[in-house]
């Protein structure tokens, strides 16, 4: 685990840069995290991020693309547009949640 400075705060991250402390995330931090992977956050991004943040504490796992699509009403195709390439990982990264793990 590493400690880094970002958006005027010290945060704990794993070897791939995913936040390890749920409570260290702020909206200002999300803007910085998104910028690091070349994403400028729009209202549509925020809709996804707020769902991910609110879903995690009760569900105990980072939501999958299908879960976001079904429960937050953002189609998977759009998730690929908002977070190009690897949307599941990028969403988790910006939302300050653990990297999604496919169940075995």
């Amino acid at each position: 685990m590493t400690v880094v400075n970002l958006a005027d705060a010290q945060i704990h991250v794993d070897s791939e840069g995913f936040l390890t402390e749920y409570s260290e995330w702020t909206e200002a931090l999300a803007v910085q995290l998104a910028a690091q992977i070349g994403i400028q956050l729009t209202d549509e991004h925020w809709k996804v991020l707020r769902f991910l943040r609110s879903d995690y504490p009760a569900h105990g796992e980072t939501a999958t693309l299908r879960r976001v699509s079904t429960l937050a009403g953002v189609p998977v195709k759009q998730l690929f547009t908002l977070f190009p390439g690897k949307p599941a990982k990028k969403m988790a990264y910006v939302a300050g949640l653990p990297k999604p793990r496919g169940c075995v």
């Binding site: 195709k77 793990r101 075995v104």
Partner: protein, 416 residues
């Protein structure tokens, strides 16, 4: 009389019904299993059907014949569960009340969930092998397939028996080799994951085995639709994979009545406590086997190990005592690798599959994460164990909780 209703007479439902019938007094407890059809299918055998192997025999037995006397069996299609009135309603208008409900209705492949999958090419150039009819249709398709690109494909996680598509790719490679035709075929493995498997150490072993067999892997592929006319898979990020013969694992989902009853997540899996399998909403409802949302494999081994925990807990629960047993996510799976060999993997919520020996350190006789003939014979022998011990609710000579004895971490550094 206290009434226990078990929905689903598959691996988990049958095992639990038989175990509880021996534990709960006949004059106090009525145990009823409800299923929509008469036949109990030995699902691990389906993998071998497309290759015409002996392992594919003895696949089906009547559900009645594997349930103990004193367990009632009813045939009905569940329409909805009313957890407030404690009633299960059926599609034919009937209903049954319960004091305790166990949901064991499993998970099913749903080709209807991917546009283009069902249609005139379904079971012609597009196949699955997780159903009895599908496995036999694929046998015919393989026999008349004379060359070209075979694509083995997984739509999304989680799936029932998560190693089965890899095994299918290994067995297809061996099958073409045995017939001296391997050079006429290209085999491509297409997965939504970023590697051959979810867990890093096993992914590395299995990835190497795919390489050795010249099976190409396409990763991070989230399928949006199947273009059955052009014979290609199209992903959400507009990548395309052509095929001549597609063997897909459709999206897996729990039963629709789970969603209608307000008990499920986005894939209709019943939300339960991961150590007790008790519903997080209604304490008199439990969900066992593939039907629940446990963060481990959907596999018969999980159904088996978690059933042991569930039965002990249930007997405490109905006497008003605290449940003292906790499921650790223990799973183990034989991975058939072709040519009469196989691997074994053994893991739980916290420990990924590691190399070593099982069940006894150094002695084995089975090897973990290594291809051996003994593992293959273990898989073959398992059919007998399944019909005669496992679903009968008898104890198997393997521990319920995963053990670190006999396992070791490989020296190479692994990124998690």
């Amino acid at each position: 009389m206290r009434r226990l209703l078990i929905l689903g007479g598959g691996t988990a439902g049958t095992t639990v019904a038989n175990k509880l019938r021996r534990r709960l007094a006949f004059d106090e407890w009525q145990i009823t299993v409800i299923d929509r059809d008469r036949d109990h299918l030995y699902q691990p055998g389906l993998l071998f059907v497309p290759f015409g192997r002996d392992e594919a025999a003895d696949l089906v037995r009547p559900r009645r014949s594997v349930l103990r006397n004193g367990v009632q069996l009813l045939f009905a299609e569940v329409s909805v569960v009313d957890p407030v009135r404690k009633v299960v309603r059926f599609a034919d208008g009937g209903a049954a009340g319960y004091d305790y409900l166990v949901i064991a209705t499993g998970t099913s492949p749903r080709p209807d969930q991917t546009p283009g999958m069902l249609g005139p090419e379904w079971r012609r150039s597009i196949h699955d092998f997780y159903s009895y009819d599908g496995a036999f249709a694929l046998r015919e398709a393989l026999q008349s397939f004379t060359g070209g690109r075979l694509v083995v494909h997984v739509v999304d996680q989680p799936i029932k028996c998560p190693v089965a598509p890899l095994e299918f790719a290994f067995l297809a490679d061996a099958y073409f080799r045995e017939h001296g035709l391997r050079d006429r075929f290209e085999i491509v493995y297409v997965t939504p994951l970023d590697a051959a498997f979810t867990k890093p150490i096993a992914a590395r072993y299995l990835g190497r085995m795919l390489d050795e067999r010249k099976i190409r892997v396409v990763t991070d592929f989230m399928v949006e639709r199947v273009d059955a006319e052009q014979k290609m898979l199209v992903s959400y990020d507009d990548r395309e994979v052509d095929y001549d013969l597609l063997v897909t694992v459709p999206l897996n989902m729990g039963a629709d009545f789970v969603a209608r009853s307000g008990l499920g997540d986005e894939l209709n899996y019943v939300q339960v406590d991961k150590h007790t399998m008790q519903s997080v909403v209604h304490p008199d409802i439990f969900a066992i086997g593939d039907a629940n949302d446990l963060p481990t494999s959907k596999a018969g081994s999980v159904a088996h190990f978690s059933s042991e925990v569930f039965v002990d807990n249930f007997c405490e629960y109905v006497e008003g005592r605290a449940m003292t047993h906790s499921f650790d996510g223990h799973a183990n799976c034989f991975v058939e690798s072709g040519g009469g060999k196989g691997l074994l993997i053994d893991f739980n919520y916290d420990t990924e599959p590691l190399p070593g020996h099982f069940p006894l350190s150094r002695i084995g006789p089975l090897s973990l994460l290594r291809e051996t003939k003994a593992n293959h014979w273990g898989k073959v022998a398992f059919r007998w164990i399944y019909w005669h011990l496992l679903v009968r609710g008898r104890r198997l000579p393997v521990p319920t909780r995963m053990s670190m004895s006999g396992k070791h971490r490989p020296n190479e550094e692994v990124r998690s």
